[in-house]
Symmetry: D2
Subunit: 477 residues, 4 copies
Amino acid sequence: MGLISVKEYKESLKDGRVVYYEGQKVGDVTTHPALKVCIETGAIDYEMAETPEYRDLAVVAHPKTSEPITRYYYTPQNSEDLLKRHELMVTATRLGRGVIPFIHDVGADVLNAANITANMMGKKEYIERAENYRYFLQKNDLSVACAMTDVKGDRMLRPSSPKQAHPDYYVRVVDKDKKGIIVRGAKAHITAAAYCKELFVIPCRNMTEEDRDYAVAFAIPTNTKGVVQICHPVTWKLGALEFPVDTPIRNHTDSLVIFDDVFVPWERVFLCGEWQFAMPLVYNFAYLHRHTAASYRIPISEVLLGAAQAMAEYNGIDKVPHIREKITNLVIYVDTLKSLARASCMDYVTHGGIPIPSPVISNIAKYHFAENFHDCVKAIENIAGGLLITAPTYKDYQNPETKEYVEKYLGGKAGIPTEHRLRMFQLIRRLATFETEVLALHAEGSIQAQRMTIYAESLSEIEKYKKWAEEAAGIKK
Amino acid sequence: MGLISVKEYKESLKDGRVVYYEGQKVGDVTTHPALKVCIETGAIDYEMAETPEYRDLAVVAHPKTSEPITRYYYTPQNSEDLLKRHELMVTATRLGRGVIPFIHDVGADVLNAANITANMMGKKEYIERAENYRYFLQKNDLSVACAMTDVKGDRMLRPSSPKQAHPDYYVRVVDKDKKGIIVRGAKAHITAAAYCKELFVIPCRNMTEEDRDYAVAFAIPTNTKGVVQICHPVTWKLGALEFPVDTPIRNHTDSLVIFDDVFVPWERVFLCGEWQFAMPLVYNFAYLHRHTAASYRIPISEVLLGAAQAMAEYNGIDKVPHIREKITNLVIYVDTLKSLARASCMDYVTHGGIPIPSPVISNIAKYHFAENFHDCVKAIENIAGGLLITAPTYKDYQNPETKEYVEKYLGGKAGIPTEHRLRMFQLIRRLATFETEVLALHAEGSIQAQRMTIYAESLSEIEKYKKWAEEAAGIKK
Amino acid sequence: MGLISVKEYKESLKDGRVVYYEGQKVGDVTTHPALKVCIETGAIDYEMAETPEYRDLAVVAHPKTSEPITRYYYTPQNSEDLLKRHELMVTATRLGRGVIPFIHDVGADVLNAANITANMMGKKEYIERAENYRYFLQKNDLSVACAMTDVKGDRMLRPSSPKQAHPDYYVRVVDKDKKGIIVRGAKAHITAAAYCKELFVIPCRNMTEEDRDYAVAFAIPTNTKGVVQICHPVTWKLGALEFPVDTPIRNHTDSLVIFDDVFVPWERVFLCGEWQFAMPLVYNFAYLHRHTAASYRIPISEVLLGAAQAMAEYNGIDKVPHIREKITNLVIYVDTLKSLARASCMDYVTHGGIPIPSPVISNIAKYHFAENFHDCVKAIENIAGGLLITAPTYKDYQNPETKEYVEKYLGGKAGIPTEHRLRMFQLIRRLATFETEVLALHAEGSIQAQRMTIYAESLSEIEKYKKWAEEAAGIKK
Amino acid sequence: MGLISVKEYKESLKDGRVVYYEGQKVGDVTTHPALKVCIETGAIDYEMAETPEYRDLAVVAHPKTSEPITRYYYTPQNSEDLLKRHELMVTATRLGRGVIPFIHDVGADVLNAANITANMMGKKEYIERAENYRYFLQKNDLSVACAMTDVKGDRMLRPSSPKQAHPDYYVRVVDKDKKGIIVRGAKAHITAAAYCKELFVIPCRNMTEEDRDYAVAFAIPTNTKGVVQICHPVTWKLGALEFPVDTPIRNHTDSLVIFDDVFVPWERVFLCGEWQFAMPLVYNFAYLHRHTAASYRIPISEVLLGAAQAMAEYNGIDKVPHIREKITNLVIYVDTLKSLARASCMDYVTHGGIPIPSPVISNIAKYHFAENFHDCVKAIENIAGGLLITAPTYKDYQNPETKEYVEKYLGGKAGIPTEHRLRMFQLIRRLATFETEVLALHAEGSIQAQRMTIYAESLSEIEKYKKWAEEAAGIKK
């Protein structure tokens, strides 16, 4: 029970799943040049469990059987467990050079959310199904992707609105019988879906009674009939114009996942028509997942700060006042993120019997990251200078006719090899992309979603402060 | 040993100290109408020790004698002690309706700083003097003000610079003999100095060898000959135009403290000529005091948020999107401050053998408060509206000829008494003053001082991230 | 025809108007110590017309009669007229040391707005009445206050909503007959109403058919029966703790103006029931008045920048990098304001046959001022330091026992008299008050009002850009 | 005289110039697939002169000969000329879909700067050379690139500092004789150098007497012996994954230009050793070029705003409050930029006898664009959503197996074709790149350079305001 090897993980993905990449159907995801890179990124989780150095962080004893299981699928009991899980995610992401493995962590978030929501509903069958599914994942050490965001159509309209161009903009139940349900719809930008064994599908918004068919949550194997994925192209190798780097590229693709009348057996259905619980399920997932998000953004923030400092030194400007101010801003950014992520574990709350990081503080942590990310990118671009985009390429560096010129004229501070400078420009170009910016804003919910959660979750706190203000004003009621 | 009563505290202040207020010499500070209000504010510390509800927070057993002493003068041992002290300060400030008592907390910061610095210097006499002085304060439960900021003259010049208009812009040793030293100079905006028993004087900047006479730290009774204080006028009662409020006004004054050739015996001298340790002493104090600052700003932030929400509701606009966004911003502000202040205790470091809240995080906490305070004030002013400054006065409300008009036309949302609205405007006018803004920026060091500390204290962290960036760039050294 | 003297203006105010100040009914506004100061401020307009240096700016020939009239009541014809009027307001405000006279300028804005709206409605009687009223004002050189902002009650409810606590939260017509109409309600924070001869009343929001009784605009003499004013207390002299300054204090008060069933003859009614034109009238006034607002904020911004620079020099820090950055920010603030205000005249549009400064740019100018004002105040507070609020008072400076200490220790950079520094602190305390901040945000409409206008007025511009974007995207329709 | 055709321009580039692209030496720049696209972009200037619609804007009569010449090389006489030139650049850039032609405009800036600086120096030979060169350019309608930014090495060191790794980090005179001078060094990111006939080289910083050899300015044909260019790779066609667009791609490359001991005849030398005038020349160019920069950024800003609005409508969220706020922010951004650029022409100053747009306002305009650009990108990314980066590709849209899914599920608001949405995502990806961000910050000088210019150019203005503040404070000197 409990732990599979990297090899077993990869083998398991040769299961007939339907995946398209750049307009082509992919036969075997494990040998596709781009997807292979993503799979290696995900496999870090399995590697950690096999590595003595990380074993304690990555593996825990099953509370009942004492057998080793991944920490991700272990139900946290207290602040320490939450801090430990936080540390696991930060460490895994550092190993992934800024990319989190993504094949257990999100799955753990949605698993816990399903557990909590079942407990809140109090329906015995849901509680049992969630527990059984947890045990199933623990036992088989499965990779799980969470499919949440519907394609939505007109974002201002409800799922069931007749004004939508068609009724399938949100995943819905189109049929059901004794054995299970049939679902139709599509979910957008589902990270790692192409190389996870299981897909856990939940709604992405609140529902009304009219939307009852859309209030559905379930888990299925990724190779289930009718599941079609269209992946987004990703960078999987450095181009010929770039300096070669001997550490592996890490990346993920995300899929548009289409559910073309897919059958789900009842034992994997976790919500079906209980529209009042669509929202709690969404929120329970979001609470947890925003903490995950805040955690896995720490390493990239650290490296951005490091690149800014390196660049400042290479250019000889690290002691210039306005450059120092920018470095200081980056330190404040990074350390505030880290403090908020940890403080949310220290000040945890208990939902549906399970301790979770403070929803308000987790959301503030994630919001802090996202809201201020562009300013960090801007600071780095400011420090690095225009050569970031106009510096000669690796090919110019290799051509003997031009190499000497490049070597001579692209130097910075004396003593710093020109190549170091060119490599650091290249690193920043790879880190601070348009894609990274959009991910900062939209992955794990838009910044507006975080703001709404922060407001909604702090209403009682606000009310308390309001009373104190009224007292101070001499207002008697 | 160990605890004195409120009454004893007040009596102790009738000691011949030389204090000026609004150009007049004050005979007895305890009966002066303005200073009396300040003294009552300071006395909250003594009251808490006498109040069963707060006893556990305010009082600890002396580690050696087990006698009760104030928690402030107890040397913290771990994260829990730091969190407890943090809670004590927050609670005391809530009791002071946003004003911290200020007669033990700053004293504790400077006492700990002197202890730590003595340990770092390793000079036996200084270590003993600091310990003796701690015991003296513990035993007599004395109030202590810290006099740090020199008047400076030209801020760009060193203390000893001959370009300064005179050599006394920084407190300095003008003579010394076997018994002690004679000091001259002046310290600016020393809060609570007029009603503390002791003055603890330390430098406010780094020193060079030329500045050796300015590298001096000492403690003296406030009524020592040659000590002259000029207090700043403060609000000590509500004006006739304001609605009466039955909770007491809380406030502090700060003094320009002149040292007109004051004698200090050697046993109260903690630094004298060791110019290399001026900076460490300053920093050790600042580390601690910035955490104190971040702590005592929490209650005022909470009440500002509460007042904003009350005002939004009274005006009927609490559901307007842009108002909600402003309230959300205030929540983020308050909860980030609270998380950072607590995280700094969780991630403490040990200096000179004593655990202190993380200097980087404490400074970020204080900086967060100060840097964003004006935006909070602005949000509240935006929500409250122009009536904040044009609303009729309490006198208009009392005059029968105009009262009816005011009552009728100044109403807000139906069901909210007009008087509540007028009172809330008044509260905000009292909270969000020019003085509060300046204090946010300058008390406990300017925001630039915090930025410098954050940068200086995170240099090794930055270096680590730089190495990670270089590794990621494929740079080999 | 056309120009009255300062003396005539003052005499005209002894007309039995009903004004309360600090709960007391004021007999003669011209002799009341506070109101007298405000009247002197308003009188600057009349003084300028009498001063050769400003005559050309302040006075124009009547287009028909060629007699001299105030430029304010002259109908602008082109960009040059608008720039000239802009310059007149800036100059008048500089003479008022940051305070605009306020007794012709707002009046001119509302007069032009009534003219434009009448032209837009195309109703002959309204067009005639507006022209007649203009001639009446030109001929008698009258001071006019504009009463716009209703007290509103619940701000989310319409004027006629039965959920309002009473129906009089917006000024409305309660009766009408052949001679005129009877109005009831109250208008809040009406600047200079206590010392203008005429009150021009207009709605403050859009109206629906149900609100038809609230769609009313009219002008009446301030001493009309039933008009009651409650003024807001203002600073009218320096306190005993402040250094005396020999230039006069300039200030304004604003009134809560109650209309207790006031009669208005038809010839002074400019809107009565045409609810569709409430909004255009509001907007036409706001367009013009936001430009006035942007104009009269220029001198205060200039002086704030000057004070910041003075303070930096006195403290010896004007060459410190982060101080320079703050000064640079202030320059950008001031010069952007000035450029936008002028550009709005260059890019004028014609409404109802009358050229007006570009509504979008005018609103951006006013918004720029308001949105960023707090940051400017913060910059100045940062530069000046804590002594802004803790510096000894004028009384301490006068007392021989303390004067020497103050003189010696409050010095800054060598060569700058201590008194200069203390005076500059005092100036900043007077300029950067809570009142100024609230005025920046709320006078001439909240910043949200400006944002709404900017959006609404640029819809066709946005649409044009959208088409360009679609073209660039290869979208064919 | 005066105007050449597009064809003549292209032919003229087949002149043996030495250009490298992606590590390969380019034989004929006019047939190279990437450079060809850039040349077409530059050629827009020549096209406009041939197009009746734009003739009046693009062509003026030579003041002496009355023959038609390009407006760019005409010396402006007044505010109207400056506004006209501004309009020419905005129009050319709109025709270039956000990309300015760059082959006359920068050349005109450096030509004017050389003229002004020669006039300031008062040296007859320089005045004549500059005039002759102007006439040469007018007569032959030549394209000119300005080579300003040196590669710098350690940015904190002066050109002549022995601590630099070598003495050639700034272009310098290595020899001279009767016929001319020999120069060595390299200039970085020189836009359009690969397809301009002439290179105008000026210093990029102030110089001291020690740097005298580096105080050199000159113009040479691009194909001069010893001039070697290494271009930066650019996008010159849409990839196979992108929807085809039938408007041409517009783009520029910039070169690292190496001067490998290049001979310059004296009649093309405009500065040689007069180190005091290096700075004025730099500033005179920067004043003009920042205005050019502010001008040509208008069209891209307009299209970004348009794309944001289109995206909001396609997603059905254009009426959501926080989206409207973002659109409003973009309007404020665009219209402030436009107003500042025009106001700088209205408030021109005269330098060396030639009117130039106000340096302070021009720099504020450019700074406004650059400083706030990232916020605009962020707003658009926020509005567009995560599909910006995860939307299926054109290949997925073409493959019949997936097309139906894409068509069905990627729809937005009913009535908007899915393809429009996908195309708008694509446009935004092309507009809002990392490259665009870096260009915003660094092209035409870093934002810090603009801040320094704003400060330096407003010193007398600041001094005036300081005096007003002192007067208001009652300070007598």
